[in-house]
């Protein structure tokens, strides 16, 4: 936009009116630039101005670099099963995919271990090597192979390789029992078959290739703000805050489930993206910045760290949280209903102030309406539901 304005101004200055010219000449300035060129430049400027505002965060995607999903499930087989299905699904949708097999050497040369979270510099390198504007990253959050009720949970994001902005995000999870119909028929008992269904659900909201990818716009509630959880806090400053760049750090994990903090960061980023209030920066950028600064987000970030962080990444606010309970409902001796308990805090990276705090606590049975109808059996959908209720207070 700025360049466009400069172009127009530069053209305007070449057309000047001599100060001694008679009054009539003010109506038409002597112009050294041919009229056709002037018209073309004005038209080009107008098109650029109209398009640039929308295109600053909206880009078209046809080619994706598909990075191997990070395995947080605890199962060694999960990534091996699901990655071919993901690549196949993307190709069927019409995307050109730079597959994990081609990416592998890039990852080892650049010593990238967390394939589910890439920093801006790593994404820039990816762009330089493969010429791709977008990378699809993700994680397998849950894989439970069971003869009667397998379970899957996955999260995925499309991130721009230029600015590390999240342009699409989704999380999906299902159990074999979710497909049980009348008379107990229809249950999916194969982990692989269930994976196919979960991948289809994951990419349901993925736009077709060539469509503009952009952060959704938040629809401000016109009625009373729904306070989903009493005890949450929302700073009035958020009402007048511009569209911030926000990122989510890996949650502090006070639960028994290894990797729960990482899973929450992924699913929360997805939910925050869909909320549309902020531009979501990939958690990988946060991770790298903290490593580079020699700091950690564990236990909180002091104001000096926040300011250094903002200077380095341009991120306006950080969301961090703690997960206290993360029960996937897989233990035989305990309840089979998943449940989760967490809290989140959003900090203004400049002032260090708390601008939002919310608590979420839910079990899969909480949404039960009658008999088994309404029960959330799978962990990832439960987390999404819980976080969505928390985001209602934002």
């Amino acid at each position: 936009m700025h360049n466009t304005t400069m172009t127009v101004n530069r053209l305007a200055t070449t057309c000047h009116v001599p100060s001694s010219a008679p009054r009539a000449l003010f109506r038409r300035a002597t112009c050294h630039v041919p009229r056709a060129t002037c018209l073309f430049a004005c038209l080009l400027a107008a098109l650029l101005a109209a398009g640039f505002a929308g295109a600053s965060r909206a880009q078209t995607a046809t080619t994706l670099a598909l990075l191997p999903f990070e395995n947080v499930s605890g199962s060694t087989e999960s990534v091996r099963i699901i990655m071919p299905l993901i690549e196949q699904n993307l190709r069927e949708k019409g995307y050109q995919v730079v597959g994990p097999d081609k990416i592998e050497s890039f990852l080892s040369r650049n010593r990238i271990r967390n394939t589910g979270m890439l920093s801006r510099s790593q994404l820039n390198n990816l762009r330089g090597e493969f010429g791709v504007d977008f990378a699809l990253v993700g994680s397998v959050d849950l894989f439970y192979e069971s003869a009667d009720n397998p379970q899957w949970g996955v999260s995925s994001r499309i991130v721009s390789t230029g600015e590390a902005i999240v342009l699409w995000a989704e999380s999906a999870g299902r159990t074999g029992g979710d497909y049980t119909g009348m008379l107990g028929l229809g249950t999916i008992t194969s982990g692989r078959d269930l994976a196919q269904e979960v991948v289809k659900i994951l990419f349901q909201t993925l736009p077709p290739p060539g469509t503009r990818l952009a952060s959704p716009q938040h629809q401000k509630a016109t009625g009373l703000r729904v306070i989903g959880s009493r005890g949450s806090y929302r700073s009035p400053a958020l009402d007048s805050a511009p569209r911030w760049r926000v990122s989510v750090t890996i949650f502090d994990n006070a639960s028994e489930r290894r990797g729960a903090g990482r899973i929450l960061a992924d699913v929360f980023s997805t939910a925050l993206f869909h909320h549309g209030r902020f531009d979501v920066i990939d958690p990988g950028e946060v991770n790298e910045a903290l490593i580079a600064l020699g700091r950690t987000s564990y236990g909180g970030m002091d104001i000096a760290t926040l300011r250094d962080f903002k200077k380095r990444t341009g991120i306006d606010a950080i969301i961090r949280g703690t997960v206290y309970r993360y029960n996937e409902g897989l233990k035989r001796e305990a309840t089979t209903s998943p449940d989760i308990a967490l809290d989140v805090t959003m900090l203004d990276a400049e002032s260090g102030r708390i601008v939002w705090f919310a608590v979420g606590e839910r079990s899969g049975d909480d949404s039960q309406i009658a008999l088994d109808f309404g029960i959330i059996r799978s962990m990832v959908p439960l987390i999404r539901r819980t976080i969505s209720e928390m985001l209602d207070t934002l």
Binding site: S232, S235, D302, Y324, G352
Partner: protein, 197 residues
């Protein structure tokens, strides 16, 4: 009035009395012990810091969970500025304060200067558990909070509140009751409300 009418009236009175006593036996007394310093000028407090809670419960995370909710409730009142807990933790680390319960007046004063606060909230989580009653499990939370003047270490406010537990239907039928968070939020809200009256 004949004898039959008197007996009927007596029976219905006894029934009402029994019902009343039964209901009374299900009622839970809530601990309510509030103190506000009669001569302290609370308008001097612009900014406050919540120190880590002493955790007297069995749940290892109870102290931090309650602390965050206390911070949130004070912020939600819209009256005071609250220092973000990580800043407080950093200041405590810099002053090498490990045990809040044995913090000295001098340390409080230095901490207050470094954080720019006029008062501190300290306290303890006395109960944070789920109890079995009538076939169901119910959350019970009990907390004690105090506010200390940062310059002198004087206790200017103190309260103890509890929430949760099994209500009437919970004791009878074993369902209902708050989640741990709901019980915590109720107790903290009740406690913090006494600071802003």
């Amino acid at each position: 009035m004949n004898v039959t009418q008197f007996r009927r009236r007596g029976n219905s009175g006894r029934l009402a009395g029994c019902l009343f006593v039964t209901l009374l036996s299900f009622a839970r007394p809530t601990m309510a012990a509030d103190y506000v310093h009669p001569k302290y000028d609370f308008s001097l407090i612009q900014k406050i810091a919540v120190l880590p809670m002493e955790n007297l419960s069995q749940d290892q995370q109870a102290g931090e969970r309650v602390r965050k909710i206390v911070v949130s409730e004070i912020l939600a009142a819209g009256v005071l500025d609250v220092v973000e807990p990580a800043q407080v933790n950093q200041a405590l680390g810099q002053q090498q304060i490990q045990n809040i319960s044995s913090i000295s007046v001098k340390q409080i004063a230095e901490l207050g200067k470094s954080l720019g606060v006029q008062a501190f909230v300290v306290g303890s989580v006395d109960t944070y558990e789920r109890v079995n009653v009538g076939g169901g499990t119910f959350a019970e939370v009990a907390i004690t909070l105090r506010a200390l003047d940062a310059a002198t270490g004087t206790v200017v406010w103190s309260t103890s509140k509890s929430a949760g537990g099994a209500g009437f239907f919970g004791r009878l039928f074993g369902f209902g009751g708050d989640t741990m968070y709901e019980a915590t939020q109720k107790a903290v809200h009740a406690a913090v409300s006494t600071l802003f009256q």
